[in-house]
Amino acid sequence: MSPDGSTALTVPQQPPTSSRLAGLARWPWIYTGSLVATGLAALAFLGMLGLFAVESLPVWRHAGLSYLSGIEWFFRVQRFGALPMIYGTLAVSAIALALAAPLGIASAVFVAEILPARLRIPAKTAIELLAGVPSVVYGLLGVILLRGWMQDVLAPFEPLSGDTLATAGVLLAVMILPTIVTLSEDALRSVPASQRQAARALGFNRGEAILRISLPQARSGLVAAVLLALGRALGETIAVFLVVGRQDNQWPDRLLSLEPLAAAGQTLTSKLGGSETHIAYGDPLHWAAMLGLALILLILVAGVTLAGSAVAGPSSGRAAPGKSVRHPDA
């Protein structure tokens, strides 16, 4: 750091006040502007988190950690257990990911690696159009097409209707599929063509080049795509609301039992989107319990989003030195 503040490119650490101001004056306004904007976004998020934390304080005081671990929600007797809804949200998202991630990545491979350039742009545009369809439309499609079909598929489990956690999961899979395809396709295309060409020059066929070069090198981008889609799945409200059945207190009797998936359930979002939110407004404790659900949802989505950007952060083309000491298939 140069003692002479006027020639240093960075603001000197302990300059006289005047020279620091001079340094700030030279600080291009675009930096300041973007810093402020970024800071505002971060502050807005933290503020939101803080607001929901404060507003939900009564329920934490009332129920303590059993708010998170309780499996019964009867607001008339002031029992607030959020676990069935956390379960519903995670189950629905897990089903969605399990269906959409393999399918989405496979389609991305097809679009990025196999489809001729001429057809790739139309295909990608179509996929992005699908990603932009409003979720209420997807929800109605679920009601029209999916509900009856799922009731037939789930017949062995004797569901009371076609509105089940599994239905919501399948619908969500359809909804997040375009996101996964388009982001995965970007990740695959960011792998330099020279890498594939070098592998082909070593006698690898196209499939081997995809398996050994494209997919491993796009891995972080693919994981990020899936995580961002997961973020969307966790937060999706209206489409899930329309087909999930909105049955409170669905909790598997046995650990890892899949039966509740074939029954109506409740997710954090479907609970919050329902009429109970209006009812709750008059009762501080009930209202706090509802906002607590929002807080949990916010933290879940933020965690997944942060994980997604952390994975996507390091450029996927050439592995970082630490990561790169591995074998190509590792």
Binding site: A198, A201, L202, G203, F204, A319, V325, P328
Partner: protein
């Protein structure tokens, strides 16, 4: 005839001497053995134009064939025809014949991937894969030769010695390959190709991105490679062509498409007036990649 200096310049004798001693010095004059690769009437068309027109080319065993010509004449495309890398470029149409040990590489029975394993290729910019030096070397050999893990180190040592990289990296085979210098990376790429034990190595301006020391190392290598294999070397550097090649194919633009002017030993090629024009074009002391296009007119045979 051309002055002998054109054939093997004194300045380059040190690079040439060992190889010239090991190879049969009269080979250029005797009848060639059966060629490894031959091209007859090879033409390449893109959607818009003809890139190469009726090229005849012979790649003999244990010889270094240089390909020279101005920028954009299709040298790299010609090289890619020889191992069917042209298949990977959409819109290219290749006509004519390329024979691999007398058999057309466009035959139904020919597996282009197997062909590419036998006809290795080095690019202008080294392309190392993420992963360790060792992983890079065995990358192709594992899959093509089914090289077992027990033989990885043995193979690595053999090919790294062959490309004179062993002394520099033998104690850090597990380190990331992309931390090597560009020159080392290029030699690593060559080692990776040699691990497949190819009969022919195609090199597309392998030294144009390298510093002089690495360039010299690669040139030494080419000289050693020709003891066991054939090399086809696309180069912009005429001195390099004189130093390391046994024969040179000279391409120039005629009616918008690359055509072969002559394939012969270096001295004869540089004696050909058309080739001399090409040579003057690319031997510009300022090594600009894009030579003046007007010169190509001068290369047209009268």
């Amino acid at each position: 005839m051309a002055e002998p200096a054109l054939h093997r310049t004194p300045s380059s004798s040190r690079t040439v001497a060992p190889a010239a001693g090991s190879a049969d010095p009269t080979a250029t004059a005797t009848a060639p053995p059966r060629p490894v690769l031959e091209a007859y009437g090879l033409s390449v068309h893109s959607r818009e134009r003809t890139i190469l027109r009726s090229i005849d080319l012979v790649v003999e065993p244990n010889r270094v064939l240089g390909i020279i010509g101005p920028s954009g004449v299709g040298k790299s495309t010609l090289l890619r025809c020889l191992n069917r890398m042209t298949d990977l470029i959409p819109g290219l149409r290749v006509t004519g014949e390329v024979l691999w040990h007398g058999r057309s590489i466009h035959d139904r029975g020919i597996d282009p991937d197997a062909l590419r394993a036998r006809v290795g290729m080095i690019f202008q910019q080294p392309v190392v894969f993420p992963g360790s030096i060792l992983a890079n070397i065995v990358f192709g050999a594992r899959r093509v030769l089914g090289l077992g893990k027990r033989r990885w180190h043995e193979t690595a040592e053999r090919v790294l010695r062959e490309v004179s990289l062993w002394d520099e990296v033998h104690d850090r085979l597990d380190q990331a390959a992309n931390e090597l210098s560009v020159g080392q990376q290029q030699r690593l790429c060559l080692a990776r190709t040699l691990a497949l034990d190819p009969e022919v190595v195609l090199m597309d301006e392998p030294t144009s991105a390298l510093d002089p020391a690495s360039t010299e190392a690669i040139e030494h290598l080419i000289q050693r490679l020709r003891q066991t294999r054939s090399v086809v070397l696309v180069t912009h550097d005429l001195d390099q062509a004189r130093r390391v090649t046994d024969a040179v194919a000279c391409l120039c633009l005629q009616d918008g498409a690359g055509q072969l002017v002559e394939q012969a030993c270096c001295a004869e090629v540089f004696a050909n007036p058309d080739c001399r024009a090409v040579a003057e074009d690319i031997a510009d002391p300022n090594p600009s990649i894009h030579g003046p296009a007007t010169h190509n007119q001068g290369a047209r045979p009268s």
